[in-house]
């Protein structure tokens, strides 16, 4: 497309572009990990990152009902802290927090990413059902990647928020729960591991056929509690 000319001319022509590109640099977030993401009040979490560009880390305490959506306009009153391009820090959390990392270049759009820490909050456990027989649907939910639990976090109770009766197996225990029923069968168990949620196909054709009456998801609310 472009006539390159001789080397000198090319360098002269490219000079401003090289300068601009050098100033612009990069703005990317290679990794951003917070662990664990479900904790008890006063516990610490590890925050680690690897970025390119001028980087800031912000810890945003969330008010009740405040959205944690990861948009690029920070709430008033929070203070980003400039950090190096990689590192790990420990932070104590007493309530729900969002950790926000931003990488900026001299020109161009900054990159940003968020991870939320849940503090003793109810979390939905959910999966898409599949046929486990002509009249049975099942979903198997493994330890949620998005909510890694701290050692002090245990199950307090479990609520069935599906609109159908479900049978739940976890940690060697089993419970049958009507819609909206809350059970303490799993109390004090570790939230991690496999959860098997099953339900009967209520009416109509067998599973796997058009018109089969099955919910789009099978969902439990996990109500955690903190071990002393």
């Amino acid at each position: 497309m472009r006539d390159p000319g001789n080397v000198g001319t090319t360098l002269v022509r490219l000079g401003p572009a090289i300068l601009i590109f050098g100033l612009a640099g990069c703005a990317s977030i290679d990794t951003f990990i917070v662990s664990p993401t479900t904790v008890c009040p006063g516990e610490t979490v590890n925050v680690s990152w690897k970025t390119c560009g001028k980087t800031t880390l912000t810890q945003i305490p969330l008010q009740s009902g405040q959205s944690d959506e990861c948009v690029d306009s920070l709430p008033v009153g929070v203070s980003p802290v400039e950090v190096s391009n990689s590192g790990t820090v420990q932070r104590e959390v007493s309530g729900a927090n969002v950790f926000y990392v931003e990488a900026t270049a001299a020109f161009g759009k900054p990159a940003h990413k968020c991870v939320r820490v849940f503090v003793n909050e109810v979390l939905p456990l959910s999966g898409i059902p599949q046929c486990a027989g002509p009249r049975v649907i099942r979903t198997v939910v493994s330890r949620p990647v998005g909510s890694e639990w701290s050692p002090r976090t245990q199950i307090g109770a479990v609520q069935n928020v599906s609109q159908v009766r479900v049978s739940v197996r976890h940690d060697g225990r089993i419970a049958s729960l009507a819609p909206n029923e809350i059970s303490s069968v799993f109390a004090a168990s570790n939230p991690a591991g496999e959860w098997v949620i099953e339900s009967d196909v209520m009416s109509g054709p067998d599973c796997g056929q058009a018109g089969t009456s099955v919910p789009n998801s099978l969902t439990l609310q996990v109500i955690p509690r903190c071990q002393n």
């Binding site: 959506e69 948009v71 940003h112 898409i128 059902p129 949620p144 998005g146 796997g208």
Partner: protein, 450 residues
């Protein structure tokens, strides 16, 4: 169609097509029905959003939709390629139906932020989309308008502008295929394209480069003057394009394409409306503007796609359904205010049916391909018009739309969409039309020297 062809042609003189980018119906207009508001709109119900029918399981966790009360740039573009859309629609084998609950998983698979309120599940509060919401209150919306194909931008734009798509995903160049521009030209129907940014979508089709350097393609800031002055006859078909986020030439995109905040697009919609109502009454009274989004852009919508069994695209790909719903506003003195059309189903080819009904010499349909789509139940826009009570268009609302200024870099080009546009720009600049392009689009100098 309830109207006869002669009634329609008497009533409609100009069709304006405005196509924004990458937002679902629920993301932009779902708020209309939220919290017990308009029961006539099939948007998001509430206030409880944690209901199983809205739940999006991802990595074992359940994610619910949420009301967005603070506009802002997202952490990334949302997945909306062919494979991602398939995942988002989430075909449930157990019931042989679409669960519409794979949006969270598709986002997290792309490395999205681990928070409770995942961006694809956000739906805008009225305060974030004041212009769109005002238009919905003052004109007619369709809550069964689907993006034609369950995939990304280019195929859906082609369905809107040609009734057929020669690509399945957003590609660098679109292979030569005829579009509405050829259809109109060959029938001596006057048309014009107004693009707000430096780049028109048609530039990804090299066959149109000779036209792009000509007078039919104009910058958007000329529209109001062109309509108002009446110095030249107003074309029968006007296509309006926002400034595209995928175009590396744009310093201030306003197409609603994530990760862009929606305030820029809202402001653009307001400018378009202002231009429209500045037209002389004789023109405005016979104008119908259709404002749609090309596809859902990865945003959640709760309504399953419309079935199109056996539909085969130009590429040979079978598309058994449409994509998700998109916002569709019909803005005209010829439609009723605060009306929602729910019982009729539309896709992007509904535009082409309408154009043919209004302007095809001697009648006749747009094309065999559009007839095929009509066979799946897609209605023409003409079915929405209400000629019984033509009215005066309200003046543009006094809405101040503010948004954070986002500086953009010309390079490096990153996304697939940006690569496609960059490829087209480089192609134009190495074509025989280089000098004319540079003369017409000053932004190309910056690109050429970056």
């Amino acid at each position: 169609m309830a109207l006869t062809i002669s009634e329609l042609r008497e009533a409609v003189g100009t069709i304006v097509i405005l196509m924004m980018e990458n937002r679902s119906f629920d993301s932009m207009l779902g708020h209309l029905s939220f919290n017990g508001n308009r029961a006539d709109v099939d948007g998001v119900r509430g206030p409880n959003l944690g209901v199983p029918e809205y739940m999006n399981p991802a990595n074992g966790q359940g994610y619910s939709p949420f009301l967005v009360t603070k506009d802002g740039g997202l952490d990334q573009d949302l997945p909306h390629d062919l494979a991602s859309v398939r995942r988002q629609l989430s075909f449930v084998a157990a019931s042989q139906s679409y669960g519409m609950n794979g949006f969270a998983q598709a986002y997290l698979d792309q490395g999205g932020s681990l928070v409770r309120d995942l961006p694809p599940l956000g739906f805008m509060d009225k305060s974030c989309v004041p212009v769109t919401s005002w238009l919905a209150e003052n004109f007619t919306i369709c809550d069964r308008w689907f993006s034609s194909l369950p995939t990304s931008t280019h195929p859906n734009k082609l369905m809107a502008l040609a009734g057929k798509a020669s690509v399945d995903d957003t590609a660098t160049f679109v292979p030569r295929q005829d579009t509405l521009l050829d259809w109109l030209t060959s029938r001596s129907i006057d048309w014009r394209v107004y693009h707000d940014g430096a780049f028109s979508f048609f530039a990804v089709m090299p066959q149109y480069w000779p036209l792009i350097v000509g007078d039919r393609f104009r910058r958007f800031n000329r529209l109001q003057g062109d309509l108002h002055e009446g110095a030249t006859p107003v074309p029968q078909v006007i296509i309006i394009e926002p400034a595209y986020g995928d175009s590396p030439l744009e310093q201030h995109p306003n197409d609603n394409h994530p990760p862009l905040a929606v305030a820029f697009g809202e402001n653009f919609m307001l400018q378009v409306y202002r231009a429209l109502v500045s037209a002389p009454p004789a023109v405005l009274s016979r104008t119908v503007m259709i404002a749609i989004h090309d596809e859902h852009g990865g945003f959640w919508d709760h309504v399953p796609p419309h079935p199109t069994p056996g539909y085969v695209s130009l590429t040979g790909t079978k598309f058994e359904t449409t994509g998700p719903r998109v916002p569709a506003l019909i803005i005209s003195p010829l439609v009723s205010p605060r009306r929602v059309v729910h019982d009729l189903v539309f896709d992007h080819t509904s535009l082409l049916q309408f154009v043919a009904e209004c302007f095809a010499p001697g009648g006749g349909s747009y094309s065999h391909e559009v007839d095929l789509r009509e066979g799946y139940g897609f209605s023409s826009v003409s079915s929405i018009l209400d000629l019984a009570a033509p009215r005066i268009m309200p003046p543009a609302p006094d809405i101040a739309v503010t948004a954070p200024i986002t500086l953009r870099q010309l390079r490096p080009v990153q996304s697939a969409g940006q690569r496609a546009v960059a490829h087209a720009i480089d192609g134009m600049l190495s074509s025989p039309y280089r000098a004319e392009m540079l003369a017409k689009v000053p932004e190309l100098y910056a690109w050429d020297h970056a």
